[in-house]
Chain length 453, copies 4
């Protein structure tokens, strides 16, 4: 490609611009694309069947060489495409020089990236579903456990532990949906766009799409080689997923603390300290929480890179790969370790229940009690607010207040106020979506069914 | 709400935590939600029909007051919900205190935000389509103009100007799709989730959904009050859209420069300088390019805010609004000014064509010429590379080289090499997606048809 | 400025490009700059003394009009500079048209922004120091309180509460330093750079610098009008400061939870719930934590905006203001409310101490005990690790283990093992920087002294 | 460290949490720290001189093993610290188990990172200065070349090419300053802070600081192990530096285009196309511009990771390394290739000058001409605005307008208007900081002098 150049590139420049250290990861996609391309060229009589056969054979054996580690990729050849082409020519001779007919590295790399992304999305969805399963299993196994529901990290109202877990199930369900949508927009064949303007050969793009498993072909050659939306969309969906995982991670860290003590992680999912022998640290959750930063950073990196680039291909776009690979690896490995961590976690139901019993967590129920006796909600809320203040001053729990103390704040309080319990509170919230056992049972069944589909 | 508190909040704290300065923008949504809620409470006999009627009347008149500017929202009342509730109680008396039965600000704000987001998404889609139209009109009006296609901002191969513009049409098409997908996930009623655990009243969520135009209801109350995915998803889709617009903006700035001189902006879409009288600046394009930063920043802001929040509602989430509103306003106004700018832009076809004629832009066509004479592409590429180097040294264009100069590099060159022109180059690229006039004509028709649907 | 234009700008364009809604905030700086400029023009005989006097008088009275709200800034006049110039001409006539001699809006806005930034930095430093004071007061008032020190949110080793607070003192000290450094780089007069190339008048920049309180003048006119480093550097320093505050916020949220119960916020710094009457929420801390996102977002916004802009001024740079103002306001208000929140916070020493007594927090001390008896640290660590495991199995604390149980793990354990207490652990850590009371006393004194300087 | 654990960690967890793949890069720092630590322990009689000697010898030989590639670091041993400690025990026996006395991995990693950062900062400063030199050399070599100065990418006023380049010199000067400030805050010894609370041994931190070349020691042990400000500050300074480089990159891309044609890159700093034989692409500049995204992303990653972490060390903080290393490598390699690219770039002075001659670039000079004849600037600006409009309509340049055409717009125009040239325009701008040759000469000398210091 340096036909018109009189000097070799500076060594530092070659290193700076080389992508082989990371795009080598695309070798399978690159070879698959080239094989389909060669077959199509033959089918369209742009090269002969014999030539195509040689090329396909050569490419297949290069794939084997790479997989067996016997073919060393060279930084001097800049990228995965040139490495493979050069090796092909070594192996099959002059005919190898025909492979690059009717295509360019611009549509070739767009193809490789889309093939890679499609697999990555499918893998991601699979791992998301596995974590959903683990959450559902844990919820079912602890479906009667009661815990305090929190707002502002203050105990707010009692809920079922399973209800709490199912909130994460919902988040992951949306993640799965988003990756599905992203898959649809990734599933577009760019090959046949040439460098930017299309190709002056009678190619068959429908054949290529079929060979390579794409359901659509790109409509505009300049867009096809300039577009990295699918990479960004994956990164955005991954950022949302990591945000969800960071919330679960935060809760696992809190629940593992001595202060909460709601769960115990399996020893296989915790680590120790180099100097404090007693420590059992929720490192996996912490690290996942920390890795959220990396995934957000990768999203912003590619958005920044693509900002204000004129059409069509610019070398800036080579920067699409490393941060994409890193996000995929981070998300998938985080999902895997979370699945194991959740599956092996022990819930201390006695502790979560005890926490739900303490304090004035039933205050809303007292207000709703007054509402049912005809007090407007806002007034009921005020009465119970004063009741809480009174109880704090007296150092008493609701149960410990006597009936005349109740009555002093509202004559509508009767003996039945003592029947308000953590259980009755939970049972009462049986509107759809609520934490009542009946609702949660339905939700668990629905969730299980959705996973089986 | 300060029943249990003994002190008023500090003035600085009230200011710091108040949201009324920005959530006032949700007044229509908040009132619509409250009206539906009151009707539902009556329908379910939680309040009487009479009470509901009074509340609905009161709320309607508050909406009018706000719209006529006669009701002053107060920072002391913290947020839009409390402002409206307080005014309602002023207007309809005690019965107003019943409105907050069976709901919480947590599900109320989730509702308001989703109602607002649904409208914003629809508006965004409409504006995207209008810009698509303007691009398509411009492409059709200049469908025969030829320009250099660029890679690396180097002239690469000649293309039709319309083909170049259609690349942006494709980008915007994907944006429309993404916002549609986001709309589907936004279209979920959260009301009925209470503070976090559901509500202990026999509410009818299906009725609420119908009244408020939602096609789905949320499945888990804790998720419903903790979830801002729809805000983030809008921000991510908006970041992609702004990235696309920043690319078009960059090109408009380039094309408006003296060096390119490809287009002239309407005076109505350009501004002058305070000291340089000759200046005609493409400020709209520059500012749009600059605003990309703001939209990316807003995306990062909400992602950061939501990171590692334990369930369920936390006050951090109040930060979901300003950056959301700002992104919506930025994207929609940018789309509007772009639509006008594109619609009034004049393309200097003689200049774009002249640029396409210069230099060695037909080098790929020479290589393809040799390929058709049997030279493997990679070798053809090398031959033409040396030809370019020779021509540069001699200071000649391809046309100015005589046939023996051609032949000195390859005996396969014949007189027909002189028939390779910008036109023949463009016509040759007629594989689907390519820049050949026939393909572009089809693409224009298809685009027009898609807009008419 | 539209001398060469034949059309007015489109209304939507005027709105889109107008900056008056936010740059009005720079009116004091803009007028101060113009007054100094007019004086300099007179001093250099570029305008007459009489003219300068009129201009200065006019500008002063415009400042008053703005402050009294009697001068309405108009969006039609685009920005603060043109609004003031137009009003000046209205007030003092033709002479007002001379003010813009030897300057451009490009160096004018750079001046306004630097004057504004210098004040903002000084304010920020002052507020940082006030929060340092509040932290120090709280530390001194609770200097004997013991709490568990945490790593991984697991109780690790006992520390003094004051020691913990002083960690934040250190963070804020670095913040102060960073803003000081930023101030030095902001304190550079750009005026006199003209539009980009300098000015063709015999101006006196040293005089301008002196009048406006700058200690340096810019060295290169193109850099001077293109440079927004000082804005970005403020944003970066603010992001670090907010990160520190978000950590303190997280701890305040944790400590306010029922599970930790280490502190009680003043009622004046907490808020209630619309439906849960018992709630006392640490909203200020939560909101501050949430606002970290906004400040990070603003940093990314301006970095993105400035990316890849060719020299010199581009309209993109108008986007430097809103996100800068927002960050300043956010950081300063957060520092203010934190200062009050910290000053009025009550530490529950009995609770923090009790938490420090529980569990196996003295395990490291046991290992260090063995080290002092000659066991290599790594081995001592292993022995105590097994001891912890044994104690957990037996359900005993270290104190409850009898001496033979100790000896079964190492014969080096003796009766003196029981003298290891939370107090002895803290006292032992008296290397410089450690939590020993003596060290913390020194640190408190040093901190106090540094604030008094 | 798993004394209290009953299960091995899951393989996937070990992989997920292992840092050895990237923290191996800290081996030199880790060993240097351990050697200093061992010497200090001996000096303070915490271990014997003999023991220290053995440890130091062992550590030195491990360093050699690593450098010769004969010691394989193992992922099972999690991190660089444990790998080296384990190898040490293998080599020197039991005494190796004493090395970890009076320290923790928490202060150890903080030490390693600070040692590494100090070197990285020094390297970065050196590379910044080398690029400054290359820019200065290029400016001096082309010190008489004239080019159009741009605002809004519109030709605005003529400037010297050297003046333009010196704007970048100034940017890099600020970068150097910022890294210097960062170095000051990095140069703080954290060792001796233990896990979080300090250490219960009579250590000598001043000795450690001296041995390891630190000028300060940390003041608070909890801050010392929780603080990554120095990493973030480097990332922020690097983001600013990359922003500057992205601007220069953008200009190099523009100037290399056929449309500008202001420079020619050396063949050694440009690359070709796989299908377009004529292409000479400014890939280095493009890639650098693209890598800006990566560096911004890394900054946001670490800011996000550190957000809202409670004290003291949390495992999230392990995420400080990869993005830090990546930013260092990216910035340093970008500076290196830019230095070479600038040094070998050829300026086409005839082209830049021709561009400066075209159009109405002298319009400001005409306005200033009228000002000198007594017209208020704002009016002069309007007159020349109309003159430009008139000239465009007539299709004439300023030079081609005859004197009566000038006079028809203002009677103050005289024959001397024809003496306004690109040269006179540049010479006129000789206020300090301006583009006049005299000023630029001074600036070049000053710049040279500053580099020699």
């Amino acid at each position: 490609m340096r036909g018109r150049f009189q000097k070799q590139v500076e060594k530092k420049v070659a290193e700076y611009t080389a992508s082989i250290l990371f795009d080598r990861r695309l070798y399978r996609q690159d070879i698959a694309g080239s094989i389909a391309h060669a077959k199509m060229l033959a089918k369209q009589a742009i090269i002969s069947d014999k030539e195509a056969e040689l090329i396909v054979m050569g490419l297949s054996s290069i794939r084997e060489e790479i997989e067996q580690g016997s073919f060393e990729l060279s930084a001097e050849l800049e990228d995965i495409h040139m490495n493979i082409e050069a090796r092909l020519i070594e192996k099959v001779g002059e005919v190898g020089r025909k492979l690059h007919t009717a295509r360019s590295r611009n549509d070739q790399i767009a193809l490789d990236m889309r093939l890679f992304a499609k697999e990555a999305i499918s893998d991601t969805i699979e791992k998301l579903i596995e974590l959903q399963k683990a959450l559902l299993d844990l919820a079912e196994a602890n479906k009667d456990e009661i815990m305090p529901g929190y707002t502002h990290l203050q105990r707010a109202q009692p809920v079922l532990f399973a209800h709490h877990l199912l909130a994460y199930f919902e988040m992951l369900r949306r993640d799965v949906e988003r990756f599905h949508d992203c898959l649809g927009r990734t599933d577009v064949l760019p090959l046949g766009s040439g460098a930017l303007a299309g190709v002056p050969y009678p190619i068959d793009r429908a054949f290529l799409a079929k060979e390579l498993g794409f359901s659509k072909t790109s409509q505009n050659s300049m867009d096809a080689v300039s577009d990295r939306d699918f990479v960004i969309e994956y990164q955005a969906a991954a950022s949302l997923a990591m945000m969800h995982l960071s919330r679960l991670a935060e809760e696992i860290v809190l629940w593992s603390s001595a202060e909460f003590d709601f769960i115990e992680l399996s020893d296989a999912y915790a680590t120790g300290s180099s100097i404090m022998p007693q420590k059992k640290n929720p490192d996996v959750a912490e690290l996942a929480r920390g890795k959220t930063g990396r995934v957000y950073g990768n999203l912003l990196a590619i958005l920044t890179t693509m900002k204000a680039l004129p059409l069509s291909y610019n070398r800036d776009m080579q920067e699409d790969k490393e941060c994409f690979f890193d996000t995929i690896d981070t998300l998938i490995s985080t999902l895997e370790v979370f699945t194991g961590m959740v599956a092996t976690m022990r819930v201390r139901g006695e502790k979560t229940r005890q926490a739900a019993e303490e304090g004035y967590i039933l205050a809303t129920d007292l207000a709703d009690y007054l509402v049912r006796k005809g007090v407007p909600f806002r007034e009921a809320h005020n009465i119970v607010g004063r009741l809480v203040q009174y109880a704090i001053e007296k150092g008493k729990s609701f149960k410990e207040l006597n009936i005349s103390e109740y009555e002093s704040l509202s004559p509508l309080f009767g003996e039945d106020v003592y029947s308000i319990t953590v259980e009755s509170s939970i049972e009462a919230r049986n509107a759809p979506g609520g934490t009542a056992p009946e609702r949660v049972k339905e939700a668990l069944e629905k969730a299980r069914k959705s996973l089986n589909e």
